[in-house]
Symmetry: none
Amino acid sequence: MRVPRYHRIAEALRERIRDGELTAGERLPNQRQLAHQFGVTLMTLRQALEVLEREKLIDRRHGLGTFVAAPSIDYDILALRRFAGDLTALGEQVTTRVLGNLFGVADRRVAAALGLGSRARIVAVERLRLVDGHPMSLQRSFLPPAVGEDVLKSDLTTTPLRQVLELKLGLPITRARETVAAVRLGPREARELGCAAGVPAFESERVSYSGARAVVFDRVFIPGDRFRITRELTYEQQA
Amino acid sequence: MRVPRYHRIAEALRERIRDGELTAGERLPNQRQLAHQFGVTLMTLRQALEVLEREKLIDRRHGLGTFVAAPSIDYDILALRRFAGDLTALGEQVTTRVLGNLFGVADRRVAAALGLGSRARIVAVERLRLVDGHPMSLQRSFLPPAVGEDVLKSDLTTTPLRQVLELKLGLPITRARETVAAVRLGPREARELGCAAGVPAFESERVSYSGARAVVFDRVFIPGDRFRITRELTYEQQA
DNA sequence: CCGACGTAGTGTTCTAGAACACTACGTCAT
DNA sequence: ATGACGTAGTGTTCTAGAACACTACGTCGG
């Protein structure tokens, strides 16, 4: 698999930041110097910096220089609870039923999220979560084959997927990006969840990363009458 | 004020999309043609497309072409306080239309949230938020009479409610509690929002506090095809 | 004292082109 | 039928350089 040079450069700089070789607030060498060090043109180097800026790892300031960004202050730490994850905290009886496994070809959206080629083979796991015996959510997890094949050897009925990834494969989830949409439930999903097709539902799509590596893509459906997102917000005084 | 050419190009394309000259899913001319049309090099044109892709207005697919993306706006629930600001940062034009004011009796749910008696009189404000001229959300705000009467003297078209509360009444919002549900849109809401009754939508209910005092209850409807909630999650290493 | 101006150092925009990589779709051999 | 392969059309990566724009910080004239 061919990796563009600007990706390699971004990765090299990412590593330096992660290892503390470049610390928060520190100014990097100027772009021309960096380009020379990496043996590329200014344009190519700038593509690498573009990537890092989007990741909020650096901060470019016209006329001043390029700086290592301060690690973002996380309100997210308060939001550790995953959308459909630990409902057990609510004191309910949660069980998981594995509906099926599948080896197939990734759809475009999933492949893109996992950083795979669009023809990549993929492992899919479908689970139904029941709270007090009633279906609560339908979850489809997609994994790259390298990861997925090992996961299938585990009993997901008793072991959470997160735990399998962390303990058996050494891939702890460190970061995730989730988007939630309001959709109409399709006939297939409605049947599994035991409700009428077309009812409003949440659809959550989540990519989870172990370090820089995307290890699982989850798509979860939850009927709207069974779930509410709740959030406590505090407003800081802004200067 | 110097505006880079790639910004002008992005703006020109943005306009074509907004005006419906380019519709969702449509393929744009290829990059070499576009570059020629705008009289710039491929690299410059690509910078413009980069901007639009970050704004999720287009979708570039290697080997296939560049397509107008399906409209969808990300709503970062963690950055709630800058809702309007975030949208404008995406280059969208956000306007507010006040549909009406009302003095009436609070419904039980609203009264309870605001800590009022169930027969308490209340002031209601209904606003429609438009993004680039298209209805995006319908918001009903309920305020206790003491607060509401002063609010009604302000022009909510130009001044955010938060700002009125803080600057004119000395009631900065310090805390809020929000719950989000997936619901079917009612006929009245659907009409205001210009979509079909019954489509899936987000319904957000939020109580905002200034110190210990509940000052406003908001209920917002957002059609599901126009919004996605996004969350960035980070998992801490557990010791 | 202090505002105007210049200058060094930095990031930003842009050119003109070449080579590469991915996707769909047809053709051909099996 | 069906699988392998080629090809046209598309987006992607990269080069080598030039000119521009912003910021801080000095120096100079009032």
